[in-house]
């Protein structure tokens, strides 16, 4: 048999290697085998494991031709300061060839507070744009046709409110909800586990999410209602396998919740999307992307009995790994981002945000954002990486690694199932602990130089302080406060109170879908803080259980 002969040759090779190792030892901390051969793949069933692109189990990609017809969406994450400032940046990105928008909101917005709330002090406009009401949202999308652009919004706990504002702006532009394209992140479980911008306890949070699934399936059919995010889990320090395992476990929890709320799986599953990190190890990342599609398609088909092939597809937005950028020798980050971009493209992402070289120091400047966008364009148009579907399919190494990551992912899903699902696993701190252990191991590997980070623990130089970093003006907070005062003086405050009261009543009826009530409140210019305030009053606040 061919394999017998191969095994014998492999043994001979290994014996030869032993001799060479005596003279020349290998580097330490190498995670994978030395060499991969057909022996690593066992009885490799092509049709069961790979199939064809656009077909179950989608290992080779979710579309039949992938980037040969259309490149991934180049969607740069942006937003800072005020709606006025961010609107300028969005129009600049669209004019520079960006093909979608991705909104970064400041922390008060992400946690449901207005700019004039004492808790917002020092944070207004810092890590994203400050949005207090529909008025800010109108300014944010001024002269941007919402019927033509697709918009991703990184918003979780108050996702329902920002989506309502987006729908309301579109209405004012004359664009009906069925014409809207985009995504809200809307993934609260990873906020509890890794990112921290939660507001309410899990139960009402899950209700808001399933309310959005239901509302959009009827009214905003092209909207991606959730972006189940491994990105932040990875940024918090997880491994590649943990990233997809914990995220898919979260996905299972959302699907479970929606089915329990009475929805039909095939009515909403096609609008679920995912968000991966593109980390440094190129081939491990490619394998991760491929494994994640195989796992999710099996979850949807076999566990949830979805019958529409669209429900089986894991569609993914990707961002290059912010945590892998170094403050030291920041120009080196351009190279890191290029390699991470290659990983995302070889892995078959549907859209991509590339980080800018100065992001370990501050928010990016316009120049550094342009280099980051150009990196995508060079990979798309010049590198050839986008010319063939899943070009690494069939690589002994990539296939073996895809199998291995898939197996590790299923092992974690089993553990989380045994604990009672992702919500319970997070409440018990299990997922957080696994992530923290990996983060600590990474740091210790860097400090002991088992892992080399160029410019940080090797190849250091004496550096000049970087110049020309973007600084957000500290007057942003005052500007937002003035806008809010003016809004409250001009709007119909009786209407605001009436709509907030109706929302409060709806919150207390667990069978009510909250989206229409939120939309009504948004339309009369109730603020984000007022709307979330009503929900905080009824739902209460989540109290994190922190362990080290």
């Amino acid at each position: 048999m061919a394999n017998e002969s191969l095994k014998a040759k492999m043994e001979a090779y290994t014996a030869k290697v032993e001799k060479s190792l005596a003279k020349r030892p290998e580097r330490v901390n190498l995670a994978h085998n030395r060499l991969y051969t057909p022996l690593d793949l066992g009885d490799f069933d092509y049709e069961a494991k790979l199939g064809f692109p656009g077909e179950y189990p989608f290992t080779r990609g979710v579309q039949p031709t992938m980037y040969r017809g259309r490149f991934w969406t180049m969607r740069m994450y942006a937003g800072f300061s005020t709606a006025e400032e961010s609107n300028k940046r969005y129009r600049y990105l669209l004019e520079s060839g960006g093909t979608g928008l991705s909104c970064a909101f400041d922390l008060p917005t992400q946690i449901g507070y207005d700019s004039d709330d004492p808790i917002s002090e020092g944070e207004v406009g810092k890590v994203g744009v400050a949005i207090d009401s529909l008025r800010d949202m109108e300014i944010l999308f001024d002269q941007i046709d919402l019927g033509k652009v697709s918009t991703s919004m990184t918003i979780n706990a108050p996702a329902s409110v920002l989506l309502a504002m987006y729908i309301a702006v579109a209405e004012k532009q004359g664009v009906t909800p069925d014409k809207l394209n985009g995504t809200i992140q809307n993934d609260i479980l990873k906020e509890y586990a890794a990112r921290g911008t939660y507001i309410f306890p899990p139960k009402p949070s899950m209700r808001l999410i399933t309310n959005i699934f239901e509302y959009c399936s009827k009214n905003v059919p092209n909207w991606n209602t959730i972006s189940i995010s491994g990105y932040h889990i990875r940024e918090a320090g997880s491994t590649a396998s943990q990233e997809i395992a914990f995220t898919i476990a979260d996905g299972i929890a959302y699907v479970d919740a929606a089915i329990k709320a009475g929805l039909n799986v095939d009515d909403f599953a096609g609008r679920l999307s995912f968000f991966w990190n593109a980390h440094n190890n190129v081939l491990e990342e490619v394998a991760k992307f491929r494994a994640s599609r195989r796992v999710w398609s099996k979850v949807m088909k076999e566990r949830f009995g979805a019958t529409n092939p669209k429900s089986w597809m894991l569609r993914v937005h990707t961002q290059t790994a912010g945590s892998m950028l170094t403050a030291q020798q920041p120009d080196n980050n351009i190279v890191r981002v290029a390699l991470q971009t290659a990983a995302a493209v070889l892995g078959g992402t549907q859209s991509l945000h590339t980080n800018s070289k100065d992001e370990a120091l501050a928010l990016p400047t316009e120049d550094s954002v342009r280099i980051a966008l150009r990196t995508q364009q060079i990979v798309a148009y010049e590198s050839g990486l986008a010319d063939v579907v899943d070009p690494l399919g069939g690589s002994y190494y990539v296939e073996a690694l895809t199998d291995q990551i898939e197996k590790e992912c299923w092992d974690y899903i089993k553990k989380i199932d045994d604990l009672g699902g992702a919500v319970v696993a997070i409440e018990k701190g299990y997922i957080q602990k696994e992530i923290q252990d990996s983060a600590y191991k990474w740091q210790m590997d860097v400090e002991t130089k088992k892992r080399v980070i160029v410019g940080v623990n090797q190849f250091q130089i004496k550096e000049k302080a970087p110049e020309g970093l973007l600084r957000v003006d500290s007057s942003v907070g005052d500007f937002q406060k003035q806008k809010l005062a003016k809004l409250k003086a001009e709007r119909d405050n009786a209407a605001v109170q009436a709509k907030l009261a109706a929302l409060e009543t709806a919150c207390k009826d667990e069978h009510a879908n909250l989206m229409p009530f939120i939309l009504d409140a948004v339309r009369v210019y109730a603020t984000l803080g007022e709307i979330c305030g009503v929900m905080r009053k009824v739902f209460g606040l989540y109290e994190a259980h922190t362990t080290l």
């Binding site: 992400q110 928010l363 983060a439 600590y440 970087p466 994190a544």
Partner: protein, 130 residues
């Protein structure tokens, strides 16, 4: 027996990115300090209060959101007001070099930026706790 150094590790403001804070907290604990980690999203008042109640020698704050110029000095001021001016206060996170002199003038003893090995934080604390 020598008293073990007690450190409060805290994240002021609304930023939830606590990878760095948790890694530092664990490294300090492994170095033999007693560490209290308060979790995320604390107001300066809550941090100052916790520092007093836990009677720590060091307050270590981490922030990535850019609100450090507002929040770090506020913690320093509150500790002074509460009569706890002697504590060693250090900060870390994504903090531009240009902001560091201002933070030091406001009473933050040292600022550790990305790429700092955890043992330099350990050494700094050992050398500077009175």
């Amino acid at each position: 027996m020598e008293k073990r150094i007690r450190v409060l590790v805290a994240k002021p403001g609304l930023d939830g990115h606590d990878r760095g804070a948790k890694v530092v907290a664990r490294a300090l604990r492994d170095a033999g300090f007693e560490v209290v980690y308060t979790g995320i999203r604390l107001t300066p008042e809550q941090i100052a209060e916790a520092a007093l109640q836990e009677d720590v020698d060091v307050v270590a704050m981490s922030l990535l959101s850019g609100a450090h110029n507002t929040l770090f000095p506020k913690v320093v001021t509150l500790l002074k007001e509460k009569g706890a001016a002697g504590k060693l206060i250090i900060g870390g996170g994504v903090i531009p070099d240009a902001d560091i002199p201002g933070l030091k003038a406001a009473g933050v003893s040292e600022v550790f930026t990305p790429g700092t090995p955890t043992n330099s934080i350990v050494d700094y604390i050992k050398a500077n706790v009175k």
